[in-house]
């Protein structure tokens, strides 16, 4: 192996500058540690370049075009509302660029040393970085692996970028005639983006419904929307996939009969794998699970005493807010403090149309766990602000322990569901009861009044809907 002359020494080496890595690096540097952050691609990771931010940005533009059409009944005049795809993607790049510059500034400003390149461990105190400016050796006291994860291909059917597409790369999919295989988070996010662009495509999923971690009713508004948009949704008990020249053939078992589908492109959502290949973990004591994710114990420690791991590379939650938190928590630990305590809930958000947001126990999960719960719902059709702005699809659902009225789950599907969920998330973390939310004033007119009314409904006392279920 050819190695350069330069050898860098650092206290903390952070590998990967996604949400987990850059947060950890910045926070550790702010606490006075000597930190080097190595990243092989752009700063910001999947979240900024392929996930949360690009999806939100693009969906917002397409949603606006849709809003304009609906708003013609509201007196809005605008001719031929449509989206210039190229320009929308340029705008997406502008947004990403702006946020990436912000992260770079934060890193610089807090004294993080930055290195561009692919990092590989040579031992528990030494790594090599191969980047555009050559090869460098880094000697470290402690290292943080925050290399993230990526989608896993179907067995024997590798991603090829033209016929079989990685969901991580599916943002740019311009074609019609695509089949999305799987009913998980990434599959549905990509599906929502494509639907917003009015593409014709097919979703094939296993199990009784998509996004099985949600109560089925939360999905109904989204499924209805898919239907309106002409998206075909198939539930299959099993499938086989074959490449056939420039097509992909999917054979489905649907209720004891077989069906065959041909697609011009296939986006299989087959779960995640860790970005550990090429990391040189074999030169360290770091252990991985059978599925490739790094095993960590207390305080994000791996089996190598000098190496820690956080974020998607550990395969736990697969969302950016958890990655941020683990980054902050580990920075504290590295600085000699205790880390952050566990949260009670990890809120989940789906950038569908309308948005879905969910935190804590669903009704199904609570019943499965044997918890005696009461449930409340409130539809946006009865919410003044939602009616005012013409966004009446969806509802809020709350799940509370029957004996104590303690709120255990809050779920919303509708316009701006992500943001209105947050009161519920805080309620769960604070151990709030239904009464706490009901007795708190909610300004009028707001969408979050629906959160209050759902809690009141669970208590059987909403004045704003006629039938209490």
């Amino acid at each position: 192996m050819v190695v350069g002359d330069i050898e860098v020494g650092t206290d903390v080496l952070v590998v990967g500058a996604g949400p987990a890595g850059y947060t950890c690096a910045i926070s550790a540097a702010r606490q006075g540690l000597d930190v080097t952050l190595v990243n092989k691609s752009e700063l910001g990771g999947v979240c900024l370049h392929k996930g949360c931010i690009p999806v939100k940005t693009l969906i917002n533009v397409y949603r606006l075009a849709e809003d304009i059409k609906i708003a013609s009944t509201m007196g809005l005049k605008a001719e031929g509302a449509s989206v210039d795809r190229r320009k929308a993607y340029e705008w997406k790049d502008t947004v990403v660029g702006k946020l990436e510059a912000g992260i770079r500034e934060l890193c610089r400003g807090s004294g993080v040393q930055m290195m561009e390149g692919s990092c590989s461990f040579l031992s528990s105190s030494r790594a090599v970085v191969s980047g555009p400016s050559g090869i460098q050796h880094v000697i470290f006291k402690r290292a943080v692996i925050a290399a993230g994860g990526r989608h896993k291909p179907l067995p024997g059917i590798p991603f090829d970028g033209s016929l079989v597409i990685n969901p991580d790369e599916a943002l740019d999919m311009p074609d019609e005639g695509t089949a999305i295989l799987g009913g998980g988070y990434a599959a549905i996010t990509i599906a929502a983006l494509m639907a917003s662009q009015n593409k014709k495509f097919t979703i094939i999923h296993k199990k009784e419904h998509i996004l099985t971690f949600l109560d089925e009713e939360m999905l109904r508004p989204v499924m209805r929307r898919f239907q309106e948009k002409g998206v075909a949704v198939h539930a299959a008990s099993s499938w086989t996939v074959k490449r056939m020249g420039d097509r992909v053939r999917v054979e489905l078992d649907i209720e004891d009969k077989k069906e065959t589908l041909e697609a011009k492109k296939l986006v299989p959502d087959n779960g995640m794998i860790a970005n550990t290949d090429g990391l040189g973990l074999e030169n360290t004591a770091v252990k991985t699970r059978k599925d490739g994710f790094i095993i960590t114990g207390e305080n994000y420690r791996t089996d190598d005493p000098s190496i820690y791991a956080i974020g998607d590379v550990c395969g736990m939650h697969g969302n950016a807010s958890t990655a941020y938190r683990e980054g902050e928590s580990l920075a504290d630990i590295l600085a000699g403090k205790t880390g952050l305590p566990d949260t009670i809930v990890t809120p989940l958000t789906m950038s569908t149309d309308p948005e879905i947001a969910s935190a804590g126990y669903t009704e199904t999960k609570a019943r499965e766990a044997g918890i005696d719960v009461i449930v409340g719902r409130f539809p946006f059709t009865a919410n003044g602000k939602a009616v005012s702005i013409g966004k009446t699809t969806g509802f809020v659902k709350v799940v509370a322990e029957k004996s104590s009225h303690r709120i255990l789950g809050m779920h919303a599907v509708g316009y701006e569901a992500f943001d209105i969920l947050q009161e519920g998330v805080l309620a769960i973390e604070m151990g709030a009861r239904l009464e706490d939310v009901v007795l708190t004033l909610h300004p009028h007119p707001t969408l979050c009044e629906a959160v209050r009314e759902a809690c009141a409904d669970a208590l059987g006392e909403s004045t704003n809907i006629r039938e209490n279920k």
Binding site: N299, T338, L340, P341, I371, R406
Partner: protein, 61 residues
């Protein structure tokens, strides 16, 4: 039995109190809350920390 129960319905303590428990090396699941409905208060955590039984948190390097 209270342990299994605690796993199903999460511990009744605010995030800040849970942080305090972590800082003092107290296992919050084993603290008995004296607040309304068994809520664990900062004071409950502090007095649990004084008991010799409480195992301190793993010291960071």
């Amino acid at each position: 039995a209270p342990k299994a129960e605690a796993q199903k319905v999460p511990v009744l303590a605010t995030p800040a109190t849970r942080m305090l428990a972590k800082q003092l090396g107290v296992n919050i699941d084993s603290v008995k809350g004296t607040g309304p409905m068994g809520r664990i208060t900062d004071e409950d955590v502090r007095s649990a920390a004084q008991k010799p039984a409480a195992k301190p948190a793993e010291a960071p390097v």
